[in-house]
Amino acid sequence: MKKLINAPDDLVDEALEGMALAHAELLRVNAAPRFVTRAEAKGKGKVALLSGGGSGHEPLHAGFVGRGMLDAACPGAVFTSPTPDQIFEATRAVDGDAGVLHIIKNYTGDVMNFEMAAELAREAGIPVEGVLVNDDVAVEDSLYTAGRRGVGTTVLVEKICGGAAEAGRPLEEVAALGRRVNARGRSMGVALSACTVPHAGKPSFELGADEMEVGIGIHGEPGRRRAKLEPADRVAEILMQPILDDLPFEPGDDVLLFVNGMGGTPLLELYVVYRKARAIAQGRGLKVARSLVGSYITSLEMAGASATLLKLDDEMLRWWDAPVHTPALRWGT
């Protein structure tokens, strides 16, 4: 394992210390329990957005704390969900008397820990709503699985709900918006190499030089199937086909196309994938109204990419375009 770490046990805390120093104007880091909040005073009467999950997905989630997006992020250990006390304390810290929206990716640990934290928060008199993101088409929805995983659409839920919350929309409305974004977003990912969880010290799966894992999540777990590595255009087809088949996208629909790097793939390659993914979407008569290309929800140093397609409506478009000022995403004023 070749990584720039001091000791695996100190990794997350030291990274957060560095983040607090680098973005002192945007963030505050609370050490015990561990959570990140905006530096500016909490907004009275503003719905607070809280997201969380394992570390190792940077810039998700702490990198999206700031104006127009999240109020708090709860990082767990690497690929491990945060604990209920972390989530509860962060919820209490950012509640501005308008309630708190929890944005949760559909992984068993995250769901259970957020569930317990929400119980604690409601007992303390804080209104809490949750949006569960489960957009991954690689996992077939059936009686036999815990449902689809939450992946790329999480970033879009956080940005769009963040815009609405910043504009003073009430909790139920922001939550409903988040659920709508999730219902209309679909993702699919592929890995060209595995990542190494620092505590484990070796790659989480072995992949031959000419192989790829199709249908991966974001936790270094193996995907749905292994296949021979193909050129970028063909990989883009493999990613886009199941997405387009899953949601009833119709010709003329406005969509947001998000091509995400898994951590170890350069932007140079992501743009090649984006180019083909866009052509495929347009071939279906879709209008790519907004785009995002870059590494925003990652799996440590895993090489690979995911594609996310969101069917937009006017409200989503409006809040997507609203100003955002966070360490990892910034536009508008």
Binding site: P33, G54, G76, A77, V78, F79, T80, S81, P82, T83, P84, D85, Q86, Y107, T108, G109, M112, N113, E115, M116, A138, V139, E140, Y144, T145, A146, R149, V197, H199, A200, K202, S204, F205, G217, H219, G220, E221, P222, R224
Partner: protein, 219 residues
């Protein structure tokens, strides 16, 4: 030994912390095959935290002690194992509230309450390839020991020790029996059929925990 006191429970936790630390690599390896490689680290971190904070817990009331252990696990393990093991100890402690010691019947009742909590929290049933596959047969073994004591002729031991020995064996057999299963809960379920052929890490850690309890009682 006829009953588990607070001191015994504390000794169990000490032993479990050692075992989780020692078997960290095994659990991580099992988890790497079908999960995300963090189970060993998480369990070791949680039980080490409980061990270091044992002194601050009430050892006179087994129920309070178990609940205290559950709270610490909940806040230190993370992942799915945190709420699941946290719930196991908290719900078991709830059932044992006020007891100074647990005999076989009380232990069976209390672990059954913990099992119910785990099933509720994880929405899992036997056969889903989870810790329930180790815990559920262990609870059955304790109850069986209660109604049908070990035949004479075996090693001389108390009903409690007999029950713990049978529970540890049942848990281990249950963990081994998860190998061919296709996971229906937890992260391994995302792999579908690819999850078959690997032993479930959660069932394995649960088996280690029950083995530690039996060993603490001298079995």
């Amino acid at each position: 030994m006829d009953a588990l006191s607070g001191a015994h429970i504390a000794a169990w936790i000490e032993r479990a912390a050692d075992v989780m630390e020692r078997e960290k690599a095994l659990l991580t390896e099992l988890d790497a095959a079908i999960g995300d490689s963090d189970h060993g680290v998480n369990m070791a971190r949680g039980f080490t935290a409980v061990r270091s904070r044992l002194g601050g817990l009430d050892h006179g009331d087994v129920g309070a002690l178990l609940k205290g252990v559950g709270m610490i696990l909940l806040s230190t393990v993370g992942g799915a194992s945190g709420p699941l093991y946290g719930t196991l100890f908290r719900d078991a402690g709830q059932r044992a509230a006020g007891a100074a010691a647990l005999d076989l019947a009380a232990l069976a009742g209390c672990l059954e309450a913990g099992l119910d909590g785990v099933k509720r929290r994880g929405k899992a049933s036997p056969g889903d390839k989870t810790m329930v596959d180790a815990l559920s047969p262990a609870v059955d073994a304790l109850k069986a020991a209660l109604s049908a004591p070990a035949p004479t002729g075996g090693p001389a031991r108390s009903p409690l020790m007999d029950g713990l020995a049978r529970a540890a064996e049942a848990a281990q057999a249950g963990a081994l029996a998860t190998v061919p299963l296709i996971a229906r809960k937890g992260r391994a379920s995302y792999l579908g059929e690819r999850s078959a052929g690997h032993q479930d890490p959660g069932a394995t850690s649960c088996s280690l925990l029950l083995r530690s309890l039996a060993a603490t009682a001298g079995v």
